[in-house]
Subunit: 454 residues, 2 copies
């Protein structure tokens, strides 16, 4: 093809609105985080599953379709089937449970970290393609399972290298008991949806909406009293006692919350958990505890990890009632937050521990031999593959954040030694044995955090 015709046919390289590429500088930390989470989930006996990204639209949306409809990517495939890209990992999991019931042994603990798609209007930190990280326990309805998910949420955040977070918990069953006590159970879904807006529109606006909804100022006030905490630092059990009284006295939901709290306390992690009765999770399939998670330094990021207990997850696909409890971490939002916080996880995307410079290509097999030995010892080794001036090779190593270079002189080749340069300090170490070189590099590249992705 001549240069001329080629120039004409060039297509502008671009991605769709709301989609994005991950360059190594972001993909390396993303993978480090997901790898660590996977290892962490597996340490709790959770297992991975995978489901198709594309499903029958009917399976994902139910027979009616409804509100989610406009937000999802759906189309007719070549076989004229109505198909859609999954918009979360929960619905496919429900379908999966119903379909493979006989192959699974309950309680079933699974995790799933993968992409989902929604056709929302993209905003800062919101994409049409994003990654969710879900973990659920199915087949159990008790405080022990509720606690295990909360406890995993807590340890997950430390595994991700996140500090300063707060889990805000409430209980949908307790809230419904309270509404029943007020005689408002019939309109619980509408009330929940309204209460869910508290963070966005403020107390006054919510009170107005509740008044309109219930038709009674007194009941609107009672609801507002239930969902508000006078003192943000009100202890967990004090809030629980107060809400229990408002709901008409002791009940199984309060008891459940008390047991969960006792486990959190025994595990020594209770200070990360607040009882926040304004948390409702707008969706109506939750039946027990619900929670959201906020980064104390970046509250404007919204919740980075949410979920709760549902008592009939797969009801759309099977008559069997499958109770469950689970949580979902929004990885993209969390990555953006870590970037904003200047976390070392995001800034340490080095492509290798050491570069072997190409000082004379006739020694290439010798470079390869050295690289093999170093890799066997766990180092990441990149041989520079072009025949370029040494200055270009330094520049390349710098751009790729590689901290060390091996340069071989003719003497090195003859006597099987190495010259190693620390590219940060510019210190040069001559005539090292390969073992000494490995020890030197390993010592200085010890990962800043445990998040090296190793």
């Amino acid at each position: 093809m001549s240069k001329e015709t080629k120039a004409k046919s060039i297509i502008e390289p671009r991605v769709l609105k709301g989609f994005r590429d991950f360059l190594p500088s972001m993909e390396i930390p993303k993978k480090a985080i997901t790898n660590n989470l996977e290892k962490h989930f597996r340490s709790y006996g959770f297992v991975p599953i995978d489901t198709p990204i594309l499903e029958y639209t009917e399976v994902l949306l139910g027979k009616g379709g409804g509100e989610t409809d406009k937000q999802i990517f759906h189309f007719k495939d070549n076989g004229e089937r109505d198909v859609a890209l999954r918009f979360d990992l929960t619905v496919p999991f429900a379908r999966f449970l119903a379909q493979h019931q006989s192959e699974l042994s309950l309680p079933f603990k699974r995790f799933h970290i993968d992409k989902v798609w929604r056709g929302e209007n993209p905003q800062k930190g919101r994409y049409r393609e994003f990654t969710q990280c879900d973990f659920d326990i199915v087949g159990v309805d008790n405080a022990e399972a509720d606690f295990e998910i909360l406890s995993m949420m807590d340890s997950s955040f430390s595994v991700m290298g996140v500090q300063n977070y707060q889990f805000c918990i409430a209980h949908r069953g307790l809230f419904n008991t309270f509404l029943a006590h007020l005689g408002l159970l019939e309109m619980s879904v509408e009330i929940l949806r309204t209460v869910d807006k508290l963070r966005k529109i403020g107390k006054e606006e919510v009170q107005k909406l509740l008044h309109e909804l219930t038709g009674e100022g007194e009941k609107a006030n009672a609801i507002l009293q239930y969902i508000s905490k006078e003192d943000e630092k009100e202890p967990f059990l004090t809030t629980l006692d107060r809400l229990t009284a408002l709901a008409g006295g002791e009940n199984p939901h309060s008891e459940r919350m008390r047991t969960i709290y006792s486990y959190l306390h025994e595990a020594g992690i209770e200070e990360h958990f607040t009882f926040d009765p304004s948390i409702t999770r707008g969706l109506d399939y939750y039946t027990g505890i619900v929670y959201e998670t906020f980064l104390t330094e970046l509250p404007h990021f919204g919740s980075v990890c949410s979920g709760g207990r549902y008592n009939d997850l797969a009801g759309l696909y099977t008559k069997e009632e499958l109770p469950g409890v689970g949580s979902s971490i929004g990885l993209d939002r969390l990555l953006a937050a870590l970037e904003e916080l200047g976390s070392p996880i995001v800034s340490s995307a080095s492509s290798a521990d050491v570069a072997i410079f190409n000082t004379d290509v006739k020694h290439f097999s010798h470079y390869d031999r050295i690289a093999r030995v170093m890799r066997k010892d766990g180092l990441r080794v990149a041989i520079y593959l072009l025949n370029k001036k040494i200055g270009v090779q330094y520049k390349w190593a710098e751009t790729n954040a590689i901290p060390f270079a091996v340069l071989l002189s003719e003497d090195d080749v003859l006597s099987s030694t190495l010259t190693v340069k620390n590219l940060r300090t510019r210190e040069v170490h001559n005539a090292l044995s390969i073992e000494a070189a490995i020890a030197l590099i390993r010592k200085s590249t010890r990962r800043l955090t445990t998040l090296g992705g190793r």
Copy 2:
């Protein structure tokens, strides 16, 4: 919702034709293999990238569209854009390179392990959704880069726990030199496509097609002579010398092959590589070495790893010529092969190293404490969360292939000891300290292979 109305609205849980779920028994080995590959690629200084699953159709198919068209999933999104699911990882990578040229430093070494979609008719081992594992070096055209990819292919197979494989290499440049020598360079693409069918339709049929194509029996015979090896075990350099002669004598491509071979020999891995001149890779963007990989015990699986050198990968999107060399492993086919071979990687999908049985829920916090200590020491620990008879708990551990159980007697709780049962041998160890219990479990659960995904 009453039982009755619920029964009516149940949707059959099912997946689309050619798509499938991965249950833990397959997802655990899949993840173990991809994790090991990622670690392996990173040890060579390769870095991960990620691109959207959905792109402008024009970007993926070029302005013409063409043959691939029928095989891809494409549709109009809500914004009336023509969009398509990626059908490989190479085209998005080419687009990525053109778009981010200024942010990348050449040579650029990347890997990408993810799903792609094609609307082909599903066959055994062929799916509409499948996982590719690509690794490429861009910005270099020399024997050292060619060798590095081949060398990584070799070590990748051992990292995946695969034995008995053969890499079949040829050189497109050498083949074209040969065709030019015959005066057939103009129809090289058609000839390559025909030769590519050799494995499927046999020698005779190919000869017939070549005769029709070239119009000359003699030339068809010459091509057949080039692509055939009398002796399957003909040494690499002998084949190279023979083909060089057929192509009219020494030329840069033969020299390149000789250098690559010398590196393979120096690295001591040359026995895994055969010069197989019938390998052409039907696609027309290859310009240098090309290769396919066959499992010697399962040749009917076809190639499980293929690729080659291309000298203008991103030409559709940029005027800059970006030479590269790369390889793609077909993970689904490989998983199916490992399953057929009874590989321990596929059969060792245990959900945890040890189950803590729920003998009395009042001790739950004690179980949790033990689990935390064990997890810190690297064990995978699943607490049984239901209040069920011990027989049910044994059955659950068995189904999940958990090799050990911790059972706590009242004495154990009082004296802070553990009773550990080996669920395979049924051996019981009483009154163990937690350290002794960890040592016992660790000793027996040492991974069968290095592929534990740790």
